[in-house]
């Protein structure tokens, strides 16, 4: 019995277009163990698990549950095989109670919704594993951790034997994390097998029995947790440094451009997304921002761009090339424009923010400049058309025959080129980019690196949020590392090692903050 696998994946491959997200991966999950799936962003962890959860279907390979080959085509199939996946985005109905969410979609006793018996069943599960849950609480009144509890209980209520948790601790406080781990250990004792996707090394060491590491869609290896250390795991996760030959010349002089102090931002649920962040950015320098996904990168850039509500006490000061100081606190994007602050911003979610998908290239390029010509109610369409043509030519944007089709219909790389091109065409003094090369091929990525360096040499302060550590090390002058909304270190990009940055990303070091 003991050596029977709860789950076995054999030679799984999944491609999205030309991108190979999972390359021939084989993996076993033993019964009654907690397995950590470790890897950087984009290493293919979630994709792999989504094939167990019925979200994706593998292009190649086999899946075995309890030693039997199965086909999982939908979340329903996944449930039927006793697999329960808890996604990062909870699938709960806000106006329902915990109990209602837990039984949603299940055929009960003759269709009746017997709240007393459901409550009892939920309590039983809660007692058995040590959950803290009120079956009658409405979801909209719940904290993130409570919502997560509902998701886990929901899966257990449906009789799951295998639980997959996709970055469950990303949204939790340390106390809540401890609680979750206690519950996970109880579930393990009860014979459940658990896969936890995470970036946080200390958590891996804390909770799991075994670790599987993925990197860039490849299976790197597995190791007993007892025989692993933070250092050895980091090495497996980030791999050896690769030289990319990105040019990083030194700018002649660095001028103060942006001073940020006491920056704290809460999300809708009141969770701190940024916690007392402080840093300076200089003209003539690329400041890299590293951190695992969701550490506050988005909120940091949006705060500067005037798109976030800041907690009182925050200071964001912009210093123009002429030395004039301006506070950006309490200003919305229009105020910032009116103040003459030449700020450019390439946001993470291109169509969610930054571009209007149904408009054409010219009209999207116009987004930054349509206010030209004060007092003239009409649009100047010639100017943006010229800019757009220059962007299309300089950055080799491939468009089907003309610039009049909705930009949504261009490929991701071309869309990104338009966005970056537009932001640079505004001649900014402060340029912020979030994942500017995500989804781009190597050549285009280099084009963008060169553009950023060119801007830096012009004296622009560039803030580059990236995910590839090799790129961050070679492209940037300094690197600010975010961890859980806090600055865990600001380091010199030329002297720091990849492993050091990796450690800063996954564990908070107080002394790092002063290390500017």
């Amino acid at each position: 019995m003991d050596n029977l696998n709860a789950i076995e994946l054999r030679n799984i491959t999944k491609r999205f277009g030309p991108v190979v997200a999972n390359d021939n991966i084989s993996l076993q999950l033993h019964k009654g163990e907690i397995l950590s799936l470790l890897g950087e962003n984009g290493s293919g962890k979630t994709t792999l698990m989504n094939m167990l959860g019925g979200i994706y279907f593998p292009d190649e390979g086999q899946v075995f549950v309890d030693g039997e080959e199965v086909t999982i085509r939908s979340p329903k199939d996944s449930f039927a095989h006793g697999i329960g996946m808890i996604h990062q985005h909870f699938k709960l109905v806000d106006v329902f109670t915990a109990a209602e969410n837990i039984v949603l979609g299940l055929e009960g006793d003759k269709g009746k919704l017997d709240k007393a018996s459901i409550r009892k069943a939920v309590r039983e599960i809660a007692d058995r594993y040590g959950f803290d849950i009120d079956p009658d609480q409405k979801v909209y009144n719940m904290s993130v951790s409570q919502k997560q509890t509902v998701e886990i209980v929901k899966v257990l209520y449906r009789g799951a034997n295998v639980l997959i948790l996709d970055e469950p601790t990303a949204v939790l406080t340390p106390q809540e994390t401890d609680k979750l781990f206690k519950v996970m250990r109880n579930m393990k004792k009860d014979g459940k097998a658990i896969i936890i996707i995470t970036h946080k090394l200390h958590e891996v060491l804390d909770v799991s029995d075994r670790v599987v590491v993925l990197r860039k869609g490849q299976y790197i290896g597995d190791v007993e947790t007892a025989r692993a250390s933070q250092q050895s795991l980091t090495d497996m996760m980030v791999g050896h440094s690769v030289s990319l030959n990105i040019k990083c010349p030194k700018a002649e002089e660095c001028k103060d451009r942006l001073r940020v102090k006491n920056l704290t931002v809460l999300d809708k649920e009141g969770v701190k997304k940024l916690d007392n962040v402080a840093f300076d950015a200089f003209g003539g320098e690329i400041l890299g921002i590293a951190g695992i996904a969701g550490s506050g990168q988005k909120e940091l850039l949006e705060s500067i761009a005037g798109l976030q509500k800041l907690q009182p006490g925050a200071e964001i000061t912009y210093i123009s090339p002429e030395g004039e100081e301006k506070s950006l606190v309490g200003e919305d994007p229009l105020d910032i424009i009116h103040d003459g602050v030449l700020l450019s911003f390439v946001p993470e979610d291109r169509f969610g923010m930054g571009l209007a998908g149904s408009l054409c290239i010219n009209d999207n390029v116009m987004l930054r400049t349509f206010r030209r010509g004060k007092g003239n109610p009409f649009l100047d369409k010639k100017y943006p058309a010229g800019v757009a043509e220059k962007i299309v030519n300089d950055l080799e944007v491939v468009t089907p025959n003309n610039n009049r089709i909705p930009i949504r219909r261009l490929s991701g790389g071309n869309v990104q080129k338009v966005l970056v091109g537009r932001e640079i065409s505004c001649n900014p003094t402060l340029l912020m980019t979030a994942y500017a090369v995500r989804g781009l091929d190597i050549n285009t990525s280099y084009t963008i690196y060169n553009l950023l360096t060119e801007q830096k040499m012009k004296g622009v302060a560039v803030i580059y949020v990236g995910e590839d550590l090799d790129v961050l090390l070679e492209l940037c002058d300094r690197i600010l590392v975010l961890c859980g909304g806090q600055v865990s270190g600001i380091v010199d990009a030329h002297s720091v090692t990849k492993e050091e940055v990796g450690l800063l990303m996954t564990q908070f070091r107080k002394e790092g903050a002063e290390n500017a």
């Binding site: 699938k91 109905v93 329902f96 209602e100 299940l106 009960g108």
Partner: protein, 339 residues
Amino acid sequence: MLEFLTSLPTLLHSAIVFGTVIMLGALGEILTEKSGNLNLGVPGIMYIGAIAGLIAAYFYEVQGGGTNQIICLVVALVAAFAASMAAGLIYSFLTITLRTNQNVTGLTLTIFGSGVGNFFGCSLTKLAGGQPGQIKVPITNTVFTAYSEKLVKWLDDLTPHIGLGNLLFSYGFLTYVAIAIAIAMWFFFKRTRSGLCLRSVGENTATADAAGINVTKYKYLATCIGAGISGLGGLYYVMSYIGGTWESLGTIEALGWLAVALVIFTTWKPIRAIWGAYLFGVLYWSYYYIPGLDRSSMELFKMLPYLATLAILMIVSFRRKPEDQPPASLGLPYFREER
């Protein structure tokens, strides 16, 4: 003031008759909207329910010479319900399967339904002799307005000044059916698994889909059955309210929109539709019973139900209490992206 107080029982009586029409209309729409479909075709559906019931009754008792009261009842009810469901099916097919815009489709259905209602209403009138109001379906009308006179008299004698018997038990059976539907619907939403599934479809379609609920089936069923119930409101109007005939004054359309207003007023809760409908009736008819109003002020009084609805809509927006909000996916199309 005294005059007003003595006329209060009469006011309440007319409010309850009036309220029943819009209560049925609103209950159907609540069921529909709980599935995330905002059907602005309610007035059209009520027209279709009304005319279908009337035609069926007319052909059975006037053309066919039938006299069986039970058959009159069944024929009218089934025809009204089925025809309204068919109208709901048109809306469902267009919005759910062909993914057309819900607002536009609903409004088109209102145009279509009022056309169907009035076209056949006029044709039937011509068939019956030509003068407006010449259609008569006396037996069906009797069935739809019948009540126990004994019970009413007994209660009236017990409560001489108020006339409780007349106030509570002097209405046709659909008045009580409407209340029963409201309670049944409440039970369905709150106490059954299917009710839970339906609500989840209207609140968060993707979550419902992920939970293995057949979203399309629920939307179709809720919209069609909802249309059937709304159609009964139209039937009640022709059979009870105007006494089994047809008129083309556009009253059904006005009542249909009032039913849509009532849905907002109840914040999508069926039990509230009971007293909400009667309250609308009181507000609507109050001008008739408040002494000393001239005709123009009467018109302003007729505004009250709509003002009350707007007030509720504003309060609900200020307070942001999740339970009072429209179903979160209301009006949004849903289709699972191909994987």
